[in-house]
Symmetry: C2
Subunit: 268 residues, 2 copies
């Protein structure tokens, strides 16, 4: 239980104050915050609440979109927005800023190069602010719109160009469980793992974004992947991060109770 972190998206119905208080009440010591929820409450008030309830920030979601386009197809300056997100992470005391790097804009090779260039531009600034950038490869079905980083290998190749305290990789089970190289990739990422996110995949997979479930309700072997990241030296918080429209319609307290149970039964 000491390592369980509630990624705030899992209890989307809850405001940030409700989520922080809910974690404290349930004995959950960590939370993964989302910037839109932080904005509703304000960065200062969020910082105060975290201190009051003694809940740590496992990560802030998210920076990125370096290819210059949002998932909805609008132009975006991902580098400028990520600089702001780094400042926010520093103020909140979040060690890690999760990056969703952006989808294809122009051709795939150019898009990937823009991501590498943006990380190169931002890594020293993140270092100055004491924030680690967490490159999160997303599932290949999200390559066109959300992330031209699709595998841990690929994220690691970019991370290794920078100091370990500035850039790491996030291992999110939903995105990488299928990868036939996942065991070797995680081992190669020793010292570079900046976060471990768990959830399951619905079968059949009916939605590319929301087709997720609490651990134990799908094909993912959580204890196997947890053993892999631990063997690679990761001992930090484990975020349960579930995008699921059904969960989102339910009261946050109920969802958190099920999250704790799923974590105990299938992850820890």
């Amino acid at each position: 239980m000491d390592r369980l972190s509630l990624n705030q998206i899992t209890t989307k119905a809850w405001s940030l104050p409700e989520a922080v208080a809910g974690c404290a009440e349930a004995g959950v010591r960590w939370i993964g915050l989302w910037r839109d929820k932080v904005a509703e409450t304000g960065v200062e008030e969020t910082t105060r609440l975290l201190k009051e309830y003694d809940v740590g920030v496992s990560s802030l979601c998210r920076g990125g979109f370096f290819t210059g386009i949002t998932p909805e197809g609008s132009p975006v300056d991902g580098v400028a927005q990520t600089r702001e997100a780094i400042d926010e992470a520093a103020t909140l005391g979040a060690d890690v800023l999760v990056l969703v790097v952006g989808g294809v804009h122009g051709d795939l090779a150019t898009s990937r190069q823009r991501v590498a260039d943006a990380v190169g531009e931002l890594a020293p600034y993140a270092g100055e602010r004491g924030v680690r950038l967490g490159l999160e490869p997303l599932h290949p079905m999200q390559c066109a719109e959300r992330s031209v980083l699709s595998t841990v290998d690929q994220a690691l190749a970019i991370a290794l160009e920078h100091p370990a305290e500035q850039v790491g990789v996030i291992v999110d089970e939903f995105h990488v469980w299928w990868d036939p190289r996942i065991e070797e990739s995680i081992a190669a990422a020793t010292g570079r793992i900046a976060g471990f996110h768990v959830c399951d995949q619905k079968v059949p997979l009916t939605d590319t974004l929301l087709g997720r479930a609490l651990p134990g309700d799908g094909p993912i072997d959580h204890r196997h992947l947890k053993a892999c990241v631990e063997a690679a030296g990761y001992t930090g918080p484990i975020e349960v991060e579930v995008f699921d429209a059904d969960l989102w319609r339910r009261p946050g307290g109920e969802v958190l109770a099920e999250t704790v149970k799923a974590y105990r039964d299938h992850v820890s």
Copy 2:
């Protein structure tokens, strides 16, 4: 145009006789057949029609499901069914039988081993019948239900355990375009490529099975991937294979005309 093959699923509204006659009329010299359509017409009558219209079979779809479960979750003896499919391919004069190997049944490692074992059991029989098994990696979003083979590297590792004339790999753009290792993987598959399937991906991707489009309507760089498979020695037919509910509702002749245009404008 000499290399264009109509994969029959693209003109799903057409019966097999309509599709074969349609290809001949449009100057398309190849067709990729599906077993359910062949069954409607009968293997003998299909063979007669192919000869009458002088249309070659680029591949027969499909054998596989070696993990013992259908995408819908029913038990299946994939090895026995694939043996029948090998016989059918031999009778039809199809050089290649496409294999969709099956999704997760039990754990992922065991499921993958069952696939490797089944290929080992069937490869010699395929060789006797003059049919090459084409291992097709499917998109990772189909790993749970349809295919525990997700990358060209992974399919190639199994193929290399058998003689090249018995087992090869199918490169289907829809399934592998996102792969950051695709160029190296295709190069490593020199002499092992048993088919090249083209289509595009819809953006946003709204459906894991039907989210496909004719070449030119998505993010895939067809000429780049075609150059890769050609550099790896593949000079055979190029199948346009599109699963798209909108296309399927339209008359086959219209769809074939657009397929020919898309191939000319974006692939050849």
